[in-house]
Amino acid sequence: MAIQLKAGMRLRSQTDACEVVVVKAPADAVDLRCGGHALVAAGEEASPPGIEVGFDGGTQLGKRYADEELGLELLCSKAGEGSLSVGETVLEIKGAKPLPASD
């Protein structure tokens, strides 16, 4: 099920503790999932389905998960056990090219 994303949206996984903030949103709706199931709006209650096999790699706090081609980027604001994916394709961690401190 595809959902329309918007930068700043906060979403949470149904299957585990993972929470994300949308950093970059594609123009079209996206079939965004965690643990194999659709994410819901942060704060929404849901009865947790089990994490699907193959989507149990987990997410890490502070990492960014992206699909450059789609123009999608998410920041993990709470870690969890499920993996983020678009459809069946697991999202990669966007390599941090950390800049030197400037402030």
Binding site: R10, K78, L99, P100, D103
Partner: protein, 504 residues
């Protein structure tokens, strides 16, 4: 997307890490979040429309900043050095706001029209008990910070930074908890400067402990840096020279110091070179940014510094005077008067576009239709994409039909071995419209004459750029945020050299 999310993540990722204050007895991430939560509830209860902060840096500052963020109320740190008249104007513009103030500022604030003032001690007392409450949902479009930009003569503009601008900037440029708990940042930049705000956000998100030095004193800076094993610091140009002097005269070494960033105004090249020479183990970063762009938009990295310093090639060496390359998350262009995009080595105005660029003031946005912000800074790119900033466009001297950038002449003057600092301004001239004048500070014990320096400039630049006046002074006027107060000099020199008498 709320800047408080940055604190929430830090508290989640490493709750016990000391993020504020001294290594022994400082405040942990979890504790800072708790204090901010309590402050948020308190601010909401007061019904205040703006949370103002009027005082020196202290532990209260991050608490108030994040507390306001959690409550969805704009936060506005205000220049405590503003003269009364300017302060009255600012307070009128944040009427309905609550000022958190140092004890010794309460009376003045009241006299200048602040209706609701609370001391830091009173805020601490009001938030000493845990509270159970929900924080409201805060839209990323909400205003996070209101900053009155350094208008040194005219009324300051209230620059708006929304949550999404600041959060984009931080998550795009800082690695979450990328620092070890041993890292510590010494902050001496005032709270009302964008760097003061950005420093809190970036240090916290990176996991770097914040150590405040509320008032700058070079000896105290060095002593604090030594005692607290400070690894990082941000300095404005006027501070660095004094710090180097204090290190030398006190014989203190700073083995923990590994990173110095500077910005806020142009850093004299020889000071950069001296730092590279005297402290080769320290990484230097020149950060160029504006209030309206959530701080840094371009930086000269430590590698850039070292490569330029070591190079025999003039073009590469010259990069020490640049502000480096734009951040990857932004677009920066140099454009001509007709708004066309210019190529390398062509001077124009610096334009910038990106998620972190707010370009907005209370009452109006100054972004172009397609989201570009005009910095009013003059500059150019070299062939390798390094950006050079040559001063405010409104400081450009117009002499005859020629636009003259004071920065270019100042650089040449400062290259003279006797010259420590130089300011170049335009003064009225009946024949030319404006004449080029300069004020110079010599190194202690050094000597130079007006004629000598004029010849020096003439030999290196066109004769039209030679200052008709060279005035010698013990020091130049700077704002507390490191900006050369050219307008002040312009006025003084214009009076001393009435138009038509300047010759050239």
């Amino acid at each position: 997307m709320n800047i408080a999310m940055l604190l929430e993540m830090a508290a989640e990722g490493d709750p016990e890490r000391i993020v504020l204050g001294p290594h022994d007895g400082g405040i942990s991430a979890a504790e800072l979040l708790e204090r901010a939560r309590r402050a948020a509830i308190f601010f909401t209860k007061t019904g205040t429309e703006v949370v103002g902060y009027f005082g020196l840096n202290s532990d209260t500052l991050p608490v108030a900043l994040f507390g306001a963020a959690l409550a969805g109320i704009p936060f506005s740190p205000i220049n405590y050095r503003a003269p009364d008249e300017q302060l009255r104007g600012i307070l009128a513009r944040v009427a309905g706001g609550m000022m958190i103030a140092d004890d010794d500022e309460v009376e003045r604030l009241g006299a200048c029209g602040a209706a609701h003032v609370i001391t830091k001690g009173e805020l601490a007392a009001a938030t000493s008990e845990p509270v159970e409450a929900e924080h409201p949902f805060v839209d990323p479009e909400e205003i996070a910070v209101l900053l009155f930009t350094s208008g040194t003569t005219s009324e300051p503009k209230a620059a708006i930074l929304r949550h999404r601008h600041l959060v984009s900037y931080i998550i795009g440029s800082v690695e979450f908890l990328g620092c070890s708990p041993a890292e510590a940042q010494l902050i001496c930049v005032p709270p009302y400067h964008i760097a003061g705000m950005a420093a809190i956000l970036s240090s916290l998100y990176a996991g770097r402990r914040i150590m405040y030095l509320p008032t700058f004193d070079a000896d105290e800076w060095v002593a604090t840096a030594a005692a607290e094993h400070v690894t990082h610091a941000m300095v404005v140009p006027t501070m660095l020279g004094r710090i180097l002097g204090a290190i030398e005269s006190s014989g203190t070494s700073l083995p923990a110091l590994r990173h110095l960033s500077y910005g806020g105004g142009r850093m004299p090249l020889e000071l950069v070179e001296r730092t590279l020479r005297d402290m080769p183990q320290v990484d230097l970063v020149n950060a160029y940014g504006l209030t309206e762009t959530s701080s840094t938009i371009a930086m000269l990295t430590p590698e850039d510094h070292r490569e330029a310093f070591a190079s025999e090639e003039p073009a590469v060496r010259a990069r020490l005077g640049s502000v480096g390359r734009p951040l990857p998350s932004l677009e920066v262009e140099v454009r001509g008067e007709d708004d066309s995009v210019l190529g390398p080595n062509e001077k124009g105005e610096i334009w910038v576009r990106g998620e972190q660029v707010a370009g907005e003031y209370v009452g109006n946005t100054v972004l172009t239709e397609d989201g570009w912000f005009r910095t009013r800074d003059a500059g150019w790119f070299d062939d390798a994409g390094f950006l050079f900033v040559e001063g405010r466009l409104d400081d450009v001297i117009v002499r005859g039909a020629e636009n003259i950038s004071p920065g270019e002449i100042e650089e040449v003057l400062m290259a003279h071995p006797a010259v420590a600092e130089a300011a170049v301004i335009g003064i009225p001239d009946t024949e030319w419209g404006e004449a080029v004048a300069s004020v110079v500070v010599l190194h202690p014990g050094a000597q130079a004459t007006e004629a000598e320096l004029q010849r020096w400039v003439r030999e290196r630049l066109r004769s039209t750029k030679m200052p008709c006046v060279v005035e010698f002074r013990p020091e130049l006027p700077y704002s507390p945020t490191g900006k050369l107060l050219r307008r002040v000099l312009r006025q003084e020199l214009a009076e001393a050299n009435p138009a038509g008498g300047a010759g050239s």
